[in-house]
Symmetry: C2
DNA sequence: TGATTAGTGTGATATACATCACTCGATACT
DNA sequence: AGTATCGAGTGATGTATATCACACTAATCA
């Protein structure tokens, strides 16, 4: 599973064995069971998480208690309440497991140490953030320009693997549509 | 106007005079008139732009020709089709001026030179991108969780200055609502 | 300065989608 | 093995918002 993280970083920047050992020393592996919380709304966010295996969801609950999926994180993606993590404020969202999940945890302190100690890591993280930013922009555009049914079809074709693993109720919440409406889309 | 850029960067990382001179040498100042295009859909994107004064809009046109505002950029913000800029592919969106606008242009080549030559710049840019990413996430959440009228009111209170300078038709397009509906929100 | 265009408001109508209420099968729990 | 709970489908109804059509004013430009 260390190799997985290494490949993930090396997709963006090459690393020597020593450099990767340095990187790895800043991460802590951890296992979670389905339904366990990694981050709870209202608490401080100690880590950002690289997902080795399993599946997480990042959820915002509005005043009326309704849940909205901000994102899913499958293998090889990162998840946390970034706002709360980077500003060291209380989480406004929560993260929990849709499946048993293995992650590498990175504390903010270790993140800073990594960036300071290895410029390549900072470069990697910048590229990761740029990718995330472009993905967010595509999602905004898709919310602005397309109807719910089309968004669902886009999701089906973009992430067919995800659809198999996530209940439709949650896909609906990610797409910003009610589960009843989504259920009528197979027509 | 150089000072403006310097202050902008120094909000995130401190710079010596020499370092700022090095940074500045990688930017080209440029002036545009209202209605002029900085980026046109279908063309390559040579620069990302730091706005010194004026106002830009980033627009996506869907198949039916309808325009959707992805973002505005006022003084002290950055604008470009980031996807096209970083991947050196053709723009899927366009950028043009709502007012006469002064920008600093940064080519991708100079961006890379800057990052390579001054780690502080890369750090600055990472922090900028993280901020942008969090803002995008807030916008996604606001599209998922709130009604158009509430989104409008949020915008009014968050960016009162913007509302004065942007026609309501364009605000509507930014909010993902028709201009007619937005026009009825003053009730 | 007179004509064109951009920006806005407003009524009437259409529609995408939410909500409520109920059913049913499949999991998971003790 | 029996019982909650979860995920899913579907009809009836309500509503936020889109669309179309038209009118009016303020910029812009020739």
């Amino acid at each position: 599973m260390e190799e997985k993280l290494r490949e993930h970083i090396q997709k963006r920047v090459p690393l020597t064995d020593d450099e990767f050992a340095f990187v790895l020393a800043h991460f802590t592996p951890k296992k979670y069971k389905k339904h366990q919380f990694l981050i709870q709304e209202g608490e401080l966010v100690s880590y950002s998480y690289y997902v080795v295996s399993g599946l997480l969801k990042l959820v915002y609950s509005d005043e009326s208690g309704k849940q909205h999926i901000v994102s899913f994180a499958m293998e090889d993606w990162w998840e946390t309440d970034f706002q709360a993590y980077f500003t060291q404020t209380k989480a406004t969202m929560s993260v929990d497991c849709l499946e048993d999940t293995v992650v590498f945890c990175l504390s903010l302190e270790n993140y800073h140490k990594l960036c300071a100690g290895l410029q390549k890591f900072e470069r990697f993280f910048l590229q990761l953030t740029i990718s995330g930013s472009m993905a967010a922009q595509r999602r905004i555009l898709s919310l602005l320009t397309t109807q719910a049914k089309e968004r669902y079809e886009q999701l089906l074709s973009q992430y067919p693997a995800l659809i198999q693993r996530v209940p439709k109720t949650l896909l609906a919440s990610y797409l910003g549509v009610s589960r009843e409406t989504l259920s009528r889309f197979t027509d």
